[in-house]
Amino acid sequence: MSDYNFAYLDEQTKRMIRRAILKGLAVPGYQVPFASREMPMPYGWGTGGVQVSAATLTPEDTLKVIDQGADDTTNAVSIRKFFERTACVATTEETANASVIQTRHRIPEAELSEDQILVYQVPIPEPLRFLEPRETETRKMHALQEYGLMHVKLYEDISQHGAIATAYAYPVKVEGRYVMDPSPIPKFDNPKMEMAAIQLFGAGREQRIYAVPPYTKVVSLDFEDYPFEASKADHSCDLCGAEDSYLDEVILDDAGNRMFVCSDTDYCRSRREAGHSGRLGEEAA
């Protein structure tokens, strides 16, 4: 056991964060301000998500941390180690075994259940920010549901690219009320947000927490004549052969050879273990 308080933060701070989380769950999509603490890692490394996870974890929990779908990248490994050390909780790479999953920029492929919590790391929580830089004004716009500006952004996309080119951080409307930034997840993941698990969003530098309760309606904004499309690379996974998962493109050599692999490493591994195989599955294995 370490000399840290359970999960690093002191009890008063965790209580403050839990209050913000509960308020966020009560008002889905609404950005609740909270007194974000200095964490032993730089901003941009998930300080918001870590604080939300710290306030959420109990000693009985099993934690999984992913970065862009992968369990083995620096960010995911260091956060997992952080909680192993400060909270002594069990950790896992298997989505189904985890009770709390902290994620950066992905939703796991496997369907989540009612006893799971998904914690997102959020760089910029304000979806209106790039069109209206004044925070006083964006708060008023949320309060009065003045969301015309969101569609101006999509309009610009179509007029410039012939289609809505926004591929990640695609804005959604939660339970018919607040427009919300789903954090930089690919828009392929947007439809999954209507799920059984609790979704919590933490932005450390911006000091905001927001939440989507289970089975909440989450609609991606679009135009009648340019409906929302959850897109992905038009390939199957070269390792496990999955047709339905979000893929990363990997350049193999200077000759331009490349492969597509599942961004969700756990999903890919479990499929291969179940005997599925893709184009390069045999040689890679």
Partner: protein
Amino acid sequence: MTPLLQVKNVAKMYGARIGCTEVNFDLYPGEVMGIVGESGSGKSTLLNSLAGHLTPDRGEVIFDTRADGPVDTVTMSEPQRRMLSRTDWAFVHQHARDGLRMSVSAGGNIGERLMAVGDRHYGSIRERAADWLGRVEIADSRIDDRPSAFSGGMQQRLQIARNLVTGPRLVFMDEPTGGLDVSVQARLLDLLRGLVREMGLSAIIVTHDLAVVRLLADRLMVMKDGHVVESGLTDQVLDDPQHGYTQLLVSSVLQV
């Protein structure tokens, strides 16, 4: 006939200093009123107080709303007032940059008010944006260009299109031709006159340019030190001014 706008005893103070005070007038549908006066006379303060950008310290600004008839806009709720300023009101700023989104294309600028009131069909939004570009004499090939690539006169016309696309009934204009060279001014004035008549707009135009009000305004209000010193029919006030200050103002205009 119900006045579109009834202004009753409006006053705006900046601490102990008077912004404007004791302003009273009725504006009827289709009427264009000019407010003239030198810099610091309170004309812009008055305009901003009427348009809801500033909260008057005293008085009522009663607008004849489509749904509920005459309502005092000073005491109405903020969402209602903001809704009004996106639908039935328009505000044309002196500097087009204050009224445009410079990082959004011309089409997006015009479409914003449509999307704000719930239009969700890209094709129809774009069609109306193109139509309005035509009405303000901008080639529709410029629809995807940003206003930063436009000349001053084009920016001002784009601002007008952006404001008028939702068919407002009352337009506030703050020095709409200020800072434009004279040939561009003439074109803009002609355009505004046409739109005012076609759409049956009422307008309140603040300017210090007497030639502008002579061409555009039916009525004139002359302000000095926050007070209205004279008002009446535009050509009567300009050709037969009754107040000493107006006489000075009219006689100070350089003849071309």
